[in-house]
């Protein structure tokens, strides 16, 4: 009698352990398909011979990144200092250089947007451009491991597109 109830308890424990195990496994897939994407465009202005960039970034993702980097509770559309913080953040994480790693200075022209997403505008600031550049596009990657950044190069004769992720945040682009 005593032995039987002991066995019964053992079984109960196993069932509870199994259920807890299942709950643990299931909680890892929440079916929340969260995508972390930014899409940008690069074009070569033939008159000025400068590169121009428009990067579209989700506002709440950018606010999250800025709050993690020492600006808690930032409101990128309304805080007066926000634009300067965005400038610092973008220029730290989006860089271009020549193929032999000489940095090409970028100039932050400004930003505009709404609660959904912002456009950030950059240009190559009067630099003399090489034939081929190396782009590092790590925006938001420190804060969202699944972040994917797409950059379209709208070269009229040969448009191309590049994907940056934590596997590779650097791409070589022929101008």
């Amino acid at each position: 009698m005593c032995e039987l109830s002991y066995l019964g308890k053992m079984k109960q424990w196993k069932t509870i352990a199994l259920m807890l195990g299942c709950a643990f496994v299931f909680s890892s897939f929440t079916a929340e398909h969260e995508y972390y994407v930014s899409v940008g465009e690069m074009r070569l202005n033939l008159e000025t011979e400068q590169l121009e960039f428009a990067l579209r970034i989700f506002s709440d993702d950018l606010e999250y990144a800025l709050s993690q980097e020492g600006h808690p509770g930032v409101d990128i559309l309304n805080d007066p200092e926000a634009e300067a913080w965005v400038e610092d953040y973008v220029l730290d994480n989006f860089e271009i250089s020549s193929a032999d790693n000489r940095a090409i200075q970028l100039h932050f022209e400004g930003m505009e947007g709404d609660a959904d997403a912002v456009f950030v505008y950059l240009n190559s600031n009067g630099s003399i451009l090489p034939m081929s550049i190396r782009v590092r596009h790590a925006i938001l990657m420190d804060h969202f491991p699944d972040q994917v950044n797409i950059l379209h190069y709208s070269n009229p004769s040969r448009p191309s597109s590049f994907r940056f992720s934590d596997e590779s945040d650097v791409e070589n682009i022929d101008l």
């Binding site: 299931f26 929440t30 079916a31 899409v39 579209r56 997403a117 994917v148 191309s160 597109s161």
Partner: protein
């Protein structure tokens, strides 16, 4: 549309199903193929294609703003359709591999899963609402991923049936049970109200 963009969108479609976060889509394929054997591969390809037609139609309509997409409701409905697919495998009509009801179900489920795929498509084509061509590689990637999953399931089950003497019915009950269990959990998890 340039070739790089084609490849990027194709990979994104592929990844959407094959990554761990896409486990609910894999479960759906498991439930959809539970009553089939490897020799039915033609019907399984047909089912996957019906599914693809369904979700492509949804993405097209959603991209034209003809249907509203509420992310929370979409995720919830996706789990409900997976649960239903598993449940159908227990019913007599659902166990007939020659039944045609399964094709309608696949297309219907495809229509609903399209709401989920649209979310990703919209983000990737962000800033260019009329980037229609990008839908082709994206859908092709999803289609190929589902075919890969379906064939893997059929190969695994053919090993179970032929070498481990598992009966089709037992496999059906076992796999549909897992699918219903996980999707019931995900229904609660994604309850939108």
């Amino acid at each position: 549309m340039n070739w790089d963009w084609f490849k990027i969108m194709f990979d994104e479609g592929l990844d959407h199903i094959l990554q761990w976060g896409g486990v609910d889509h894999i479960l759906f394929i498991v439930a959809l193929t539970a009553v089939f054997q490897l020799k039915h591969w033609g019907r399984v390809l047909g089912l996957v294609t019906f599914f693809t037609v369904g979700h492509t139609l949804t993405i097209v309509l959603a991209n034209m703003d003809l249907i509203p997409v509420n992310k929370a409701i979409a995720e919830f409905l996706i789990q409900v359709t997976i649960f239903y697919t598993g449940l159908m495998n227990l019913m007599k009509a659902g166990q007939n591999p020659r039944g045609n009801a399964r094709f309608f179900l696949a297309a219907l489920v495809g229509l609903i899963h399209g709401l989920g795929f649209f979310e990703k498509f919209r983000m990737l084509s962000m800033g260019d609402d009329k980037d229609w061509v990008a839908l082709i590689p994206f859908s092709l990637g999803i289609e190929l991923a589902q075919i890969i999953v379906a064939l893997c399931v059929l190969i695994i089950t053919s090993i179970l049936f032929n070498f481990m003497r598992v009966k089709q019915r037992e496999w059906n009950l076992f796999s549909s049970g897992i699918v219903c269990g996980v999707s019931a959990y995900l229904i609660v998890e994604n309850w939108p109200w």
